[in-house]
């Protein structure tokens, strides 16, 4: 099967963008990603957008960029994993010759923009059972899942903290990261309590910003002369919507299904993976994803991450841009895991930040409240 090539990646400005709206940030990321690919805006014939504060986000971005009759349009909203999910649809569309240059984009003003509508949504009956409990979402809901994991497997707060520490170590090498000051396990454990067992440093940042990835056909990639970073495997699923009590098993996510599928498509095993970019809305998100993707046995995630396994120089470099915990988190973080995976496979960095000769990367998105899971295996082709 023809595999789409990830030809260009970029972020918009991150952090605080009070003079921009979500669409501005998505558009800025898009033009920068196109520039990275060496591709003109007028060549874009497909758009995939999720998470925009608009119910027809692909249409509004197409209009904003004044695209002429794009042939591929995608707006499936499955939360933070939408962008990984799109990679599969783009692959299918390109196999049908439906599009040659597709932009996968996201933008948000999660930090400085207006807050969410607080009126109780009645279109989904479960909301009436959830919101009046006062549960602080998403942190409290993830915290409940983490507590269940601790109960079943003896995972400790200290082990969760190790993830934050390793991630911050990567962030210290990323000038774009919001938090670059190294931290210790004690710093995490002593940070402000948010929703037990989570402290502040177990939780992702809240940022403005956007990101975009340009996927092109193999033929187009050759024309552009970009490094051939391919989508070698992709799979998605979901287990529930937003109410954590509906999650069938709070210690296992959909990654247990999507990981094996994506790995099989790509024809790889865990030993082949050079770098992992796993959605880390919270420390627990990364821990449970490591287990579910099979990097360690179920329940052994805490032990696995102890001692710097995922830190620079560790056995499995993870979230090498600093992740949602330290780099940025404008809401749907999934687009940023793809961006960093591509940069590592291209060898964009120097020194310790660059994972040596990275050929295979896993990018994993999580959406909702551990609700959707999408795994992409990316490979630098010969």
């Amino acid at each position: 099967m023809a595999e789409p090539i990830l030809a260009g990646v970029a972020e918009s400005d991150l952090g605080e963008t009070p003079d921009r709206n979500w669409l501005d940030n998505a558009a800025i990321a898009t033009v920068r990603a196109l520039e990275d690919a060496g591709c003109a805006l007028e060549e874009v014939d497909g758009v995939a957008v999720a998470g925009g504060n608009d119910y027809m986000p692909a249409l509004i971005l197409s209009e904003y960029l004044d695209l002429e009759e794009p042939s591929f349009l995608e707006g499936t909203e499955i939360g933070g994993s939408s962008f990984e999910h799109f990679c599969g649809h783009v692959r299918d569309a390109m196999a049908r010759d439906e599009a040659d240059v597709v932009v996968v984009a996201y933008g948000s003003t999660g930090k400085t923009g207006p807050g969410r509508d607080q009126s109780l949504e009645v279109t989904h009956p479960v909301d009436g059972f959830v919101r009046p409990t006062g549960l602080f979402r998403p942190p409290g809901a993830y915290a409940m899942a983490a507590r269940r994991h601790m109960h079943e497997y003896g995972t400790t707060e200290k082990q969760l903290a190790e993830i934050a520490v390793a991630t911050r170590e990567w962030a210290s090498m990323n000038p774009k990261a919001a938090q670059q000051e190294p931290i210790t396990v004690d710093d995490v454990l002593e940070s402000r309590q948010i929703a037990e067992p989570f402290n502040l440093l177990d939780c992702c940042l809240v940022s403005d910003g956007g990101g975009a990835v340009v996927l092109v056909s193999e033929e187009k990639a050759r024309e552009l002369g970009v490094p051939p970073i391919s989508v070698a495997g992709v799979a998605s699923t979901s287990t529930h919507r937003q109410d954590i009590s509906e999650m069938p098993d709070m210690t296992t996510t959909g990654a247990a299904v999507t990981g094996p599928k994506a790995f099989e498509q790509a024809g790889i095993t865990h030993d082949d993976v050079d770098v992992a970019q796993l959605y880390d809305s919270f420390t627990y998100t990364a821990l449970v994803t490591l287990e579910d993707l099979g990097f360690c046995e179920k329940g052994e995630g805490g032990e696995f991450v102890s001692g710097g396994t995922t830190a620079p120089g560790g056995e499995l470099p993870m979230n090498t841009q600093g992740g949602g915990l330290s780099y940025c988190h404008p809401g749907h973080f999934g687009v940023f895991v793809l961006i960093e995976a591509v940069r590592q496979l291209r060898g964009d960095y120097t020194g310790e930040r660059q994972v040596d000769d990275a050929e295979v990367a896993v990018a994993h998105g999580t959406g909702g409240i551990l609700s959707s899971s999408s795994t992409v295996v990316l490979r630098r082709e010969a």
Binding site: G128, F129, A145, R147, S245
Partner: protein
Amino acid sequence: MNAPVEDRREEWEGPVPVPTGATEPFWEATLEGDLLFQECDCGNRQLYPRAVCTDCGAEDPPFEESEGVGTIYTYTVCHVPGEPGFGDRTPYVVGAIELAEGPRLLAMIDADPDDLEVGTPVAVRFWRISDEAAMPVFVPE
């Protein structure tokens, strides 16, 4: 079952449920101190109330009365209010309760966090927070 229903309408500043369709019988029962779940003829039990059975697809599965007891599947202590109107109450506990009948529901837990752990047996109470609904609140048994 008829668990106690405490009227908290005066002091409640948080959101309130809006009973509609399949959820109406559930919320009506809460005003009487009854906790309902749906039990389909096929044997499937479910909560929140839905217009279809998630196992066999039968429409409008009938309601049954829960004993109102269960165990804490997991919980968190919120130090940051999740909703406007909850600010004065922090820290407070929210949990996922596994009812003796099987279904799980998210609920407030009215207890000192130090008295709780995963697996703690709990029983339901109700706080009436609007003219139309009382929220299930669990306390250690």
